[in-house]
């Protein structure tokens, strides 16, 4: 369970409302693939990932980034029940996709950096702290059904 104060909840929803969510999704996933190239192992079918610009401009990466971030956004609406919200996605990532949960933590930090990049000063230390709790909660929820 993620424990956010009312102030933190307000910070999270307020700032989330200010960003272009699809862009955050695309940038987060692209950054993951560029900064930690070994994560490309899950996306060999995505075509050209050979350079940072290839990744950033890759249509499949953008589309997948969008999918992932919309799922994340769903989590923001259910902070009191992240494990329930991500239960079937957790099973999927374990049983079908075979993704090491460490990757959820890495992607979570890429989302944080993308938010910082877009929001600048507004992404204060307090705002970051609130979002870190959220991404940690989501990562744990996605790992919860692993066996």
């Amino acid at each position: 369970m993620v424990h956010l104060t009312d102030a933190e909840k307000a910070l999270v929803s307020g700032l989330w409302g200010k960003v272009d969510v699809d862009e955050i999704g695309g940038e987060s996933l692209s950054s993951l693939l560029v900064v930690y190239p070994w994560t490309q192992r899950f996306f060999e079918h995505f075509g050209d990932l050979s350079s940072a610009s290839a990744v950033m401009n890759n249509a499949q990466v953008k589309a997948h980034g969008k999918k992932v971030i919309h799922s994340f956004a769903d989590g923001l609406k259910h902070l009191d029940n992240l494990k329930g919200t991500f239960s079937s996605l957790s099973e999927l990532h374990c049983d079908k996709l075979h993704v090491d949960p460490e990757n959820f933590r890495l992607l979570g930090n890429m989302i944080i950096i993308a938010l910082s990049h877009h929001l600048g000063k507004e992404f204060t230390p307090c705002a970051q702290a609130a979002f870190q709790k959220v991404v940690a909660g989501v990562a744990n929820a996605l790992a919860h059904k692993y066996h």
Binding site: V34, V35, A52, I113
Partner: protein
């Protein structure tokens, strides 16, 4: 893991932009660390950690100055950082996990302060550099 030539150039060029704001960047990095990862405050029971504290600013400066030294000695990090490696291994004994947390907070700070310069290539090069620097600083732990 070692830095490629182009990564070195990217790191040095970004440092040039950071240098004039070193204290502010270092201080903000620490504030982010203590807010997001309160357990890191356990290493600073003797500090006033309030926003704007002189100790926080001095320590932020110190950390960024060390990063700057590392950039200047990017080709021979292990020997250039010997004193700091020993300090962390024998005196400070900060758990290695915390280097990742500090590095992450520095990257968040750079992304916020340098939106145009913080490209994916810069992000990658600096993440790698900080990871290597962290390894150097924990090299003598055991």
């Amino acid at each position: 893991m070692s830095l490629l030539k182009n990564e070195r150039a990217i790191i040095m060029s970004m440092w040039d932009k950071m240098a004039s704001q070193a204290e502010a960047i270092g201080t903000e990095t620490l504030e982010r660390l203590f807010s997001s990862y309160p357990q890191t405050k356990t290493y600073f029971p003797h500090f006033d950690l309030h926003h704007g504290s002189q100790q926080l600013r001095a320590h932020g400066s110190k950390i960024l100055a060390a990063v700057g030294d590392a950039v200047k000695n990017i080709d021979n990090l292990a020997s250039a950082m010997t004193k700091l490696s020993e300090l962390h291994a024998y005196i400070l004994r900060v758990d290695p996990v915390n280097f990742k947390l500090l590095s992450h907070c520095l990257l968040v700070t750079l992304a916020a302060r340098f939106p145009a310069e913080f490209t994916p290539e810069v992000h990658e090069a600096w993440d790698k550099f900080l990871s290597i620097l962290s390894s150097v600083l924990t090299e003598k732990y055991r």
